[in-house]
């Protein structure tokens, strides 16, 4: 049996028991990548050969040598009777927004095309220490700016394994695709407005955004410093829990990382949902969408399968003994995207200041008159449209003349969004929820190029996920079926601060109860095309 069909947990158990060699695991996953991934993302791609259209293109870089070294070390440890770690032999892919010494870290941008960091992100270091095999860096929206992964400077961008004419979602699109296509059972992504959960939903995998500060941001190239959360993508809930266990915990190199103790996520998984209170909100069954000329807010229906999936999931959980609480008001959910437009852009614009061609990365080859011209031409050539747009928006809304109106106001609306969740989870309040169940996205994966030029519409695919980033709370997206086109549907559970254990438990219960559902037997198109698995 091919190890690519094993879960991470199964691989670990067998490698630790000496029943499975890490090298065999590695080689079989590398073969899978070779079979389904096609050419890796690259700068200045000339025409794409037609056969590549059906490929997944999850990776920018496959780090074969690094992974082989790691596999050898695991085998040596097992042979010596030493503990090879809680992720021993498990192939992991890393979103190329994390600095990993020994690799280039591009952030999907020309401006870092050759950047080789002399340090490794804490989350990646923890994976390495746990015995994981780092197979490569996955493609993403440039600097994580986007919800489709199409904006990468490294083309071709990732394709949705379920239908390669459709997007993976973003910005952790390469990560979600790699997991969905059985290239790695685990991937490390980041979630700033929904960038783990939305692609996870689009690609039919599990994606978890931990509580802000639960996982260290050290080594993560920053987008929205008060919003960014590193987190796991996996094909099932226990694998996500396994990976979170390794990632979680305080880091002295990150002042915002939390000293809250880390519970045993795996131990709590199978406790079931009897007596847990799971809420559903009418404010999450549609999206509030603006007229981009007038700014008038209107209501837009979401794809009906999404609300259907939520009802079905609620039914399953009810049958397992959970209490479903309907009509939980979340009145400030509608303000999530406008607030996000302001806060994330202010932080992003500032975080991009350091990319100036002086210290590392790209510098223009054109002759320039002076330093100012160096900055301008380097940044003009090095950044794609999405970073440029975020810089301009961020600078505008934080300008001295506008800051009170936009930025300060947005920070206060954020407090309102947070207050909605506090009220929902308050153990002495009217709802006393353990989890809030919502759709993850308004639609299933849209077609390539369909939304890319409309940056407002693109951002609104995050309307259901972004609340967790503003509030800092954890949230998980899990697969809940396929739509009539065969595209994955995701549902989301929000949890209280540092209660990843509860939302994992709820997700696990649903997953186990629907193990035999027919839709779980479907195979992604890209795999059928490659005739593997």
């Amino acid at each position: 049996m091919n190890t690519t069909s094993l879960s991470a947990l199964e691989i670990v158990l067998r490698v630790r028991a000496g029943e499975l060699s890490a090298m065999q695991v590695l080689e079989e996953h590398l073969a899978q990548i070779a079979a389904v991934d096609g050419i890796p993302g690259q700068l200045d791609l000339p025409a794409l050969p037609p056969r590549e259209e059906q490929k997944v293109h999850a990776f920018i870089q496959v780090t074969t040598d690094l992974a082989r070294q790691q596999a050898e070390q695991i085998e040596a440890k097992v042979a010596r009777g030493e503990d090879p770690g809680p992720l021993a032999g498990v192939p992991v892919s890393i979103k190329d927004i994390f600095c990993v010494q020994g690799t280039t870290t591009t952030a999907g941008s020309r401006i870092l095309y050759n950047f080789r960091p002399p340090y490794t992100a804490t989350t990646v270091a923890r994976l390495e220490q746990a015995g994981a095999l780092i197979l490569g860096k996955t493609n993403l929206d440039e600097f994580t700016y986007g919800s489709s992964s199409e904006s990468s400077a490294f083309q071709p961008h990732p394709n949705n394994p379920w239908n390669t004419q459709h997007v993976t979602g973003g910005s952790s699109g390469g990560s979600a695709a790699a997991v969905a296509a059985y290239e790695t059972p685990l991937s490390l992504g980041t979630d700033t407005g929904g960038s783990i959960r939305q692609p996870a939903a689009f690609c039919g995998v599990v994606g978890l955004k931990p509580t802000y500060g639960r996982t260290s941001r050290y080594g993560l190239i920053a987008f929205g410093s008060s919003l960014d959360c590193p987190g796991p993508l996996a094909r099932n809930v226990s694998d996500a829990a396994l990976m979170l266990q390794v990632l979680a915990g305080a880091d002295p190199k990150d002042s915002t990382s939390s000293i809250q103790p880390v519970p045993d996520y795996l131990a709590a998984l199978a406790e079931g949902v009897r007596g847990l209170r799971i809420g559903i909100s009418p404010d999450y069954d549609h999206i509030a969408y603006p007229d981009t000329e007038t700014g008038e807010m209107g209501i837009q229906a979401i794809q009906p399968e999404m609300n259907q999936a939520v009802r079905e999931v609620a039914q399953v959980l009810a049958s397992l003994g959970a209490e479903i609480i309907e009509n939980v008001p979340m009145p400030n959910a509608r303000h999530g995207i406008p607030t996000y437009f302001v806060i994330s852009r202010v932080e992003a614009a500032s975080n991009l200041h350091r990319f100036d061609g002086v210290k590392y990365g790209y510098r223009t080859q054109k002759p320039v008159q002076d330093l100012t011209e160096l900055y301008r031409v380097t940044r003009a050539e090095g950044f794609g449209l999405q970073p440029k747009l975020r810089i301009l928006m961020g600078m505008y809304v934080s300008a001295a003349a506008h800051a009170a109106h936009y930025y300060q106001k947005a920070l206060r609306v954020r407090s309102l969004i947070r207050a909605d969740f506090e009220r929902a989870f308050d153990p002495t309040g009217p709802y006393r929820l353990d989890a809030l169940l919502t759709p993850t996205t308004p639609t299933t994966a849209f077609r390539r190029k369909e939304v890319l030029r409309d940056t407002v519409l693109m951002q609104y695919s995050d309307q259901m996920t972004v609340g967790a980033n503003h509030a800092g709370i954890p949230a998980i997206s899990i697969p809940a079926g396929l739509d009539p086109q065969g595209l994955p549907i995701g549902v989301q559970f929000f949890g209280n601060d540092f209660r990843e254990d509860i939302i994992l438990r709820v997700a696990y219960a649903y997953e186990q109860a629907t193990e035999l559902a027919p839709w779980r037997q479907e195979i992604p198109q890209a795999l059928r095309a490659a005739e593997v698995k």
Binding site: P118, G295, P338, D370, K388
Partner: protein, 106 residues
């Protein structure tokens, strides 16, 4: 009163402040998208908020490590940092000089 839309003139100033340079097509596209995003953001100003609602810099109440002890821990490889420079000379990062006078700065 804040401007309803960003004019071409305002946009060009913003581009200069951002140390960017855009061609005609990019300028028009980005200016249009910027104005669309501002329209989407407009509703923020209409949200009624009580005086006592504080701004939230982070969603949760961060409980992090206390400030670190004052102990020297040299980075093991400063040369690796210098080696990243697009241009360096005798241990300095090298850039073109600043135009005099009237440049952006301290």
């Amino acid at each position: 009163m804040l401007p309803e839309k960003i004019t071409r003139e305002m946009f060009d100033k913003l581009v200069a402040l951002a140390a960017l340079e855009l061609d005609e097509e990019e300028s028009e596209y980005l200016r249009t998208e910027l104005n669309h995003q501002l329209a989407a953001v407009k509703e923020l100003s209409e949200i009624p908020i009580d005086e006592d609602i504080e701004p939230s810099l982070h969603g949760i109440n961060c409980q992090g490590n206390p400030p670190r002890p004052d102990e020297w821990k040299p980075f093991p490889d400063p040369d690796a940092i210098l080696a990243l420079a697009p241009e360096s000379r005798e241990r300095y990062f090298v850039v073109p000089d600043i135009a005099q006078p009237g440049q952006e700065g301290q």
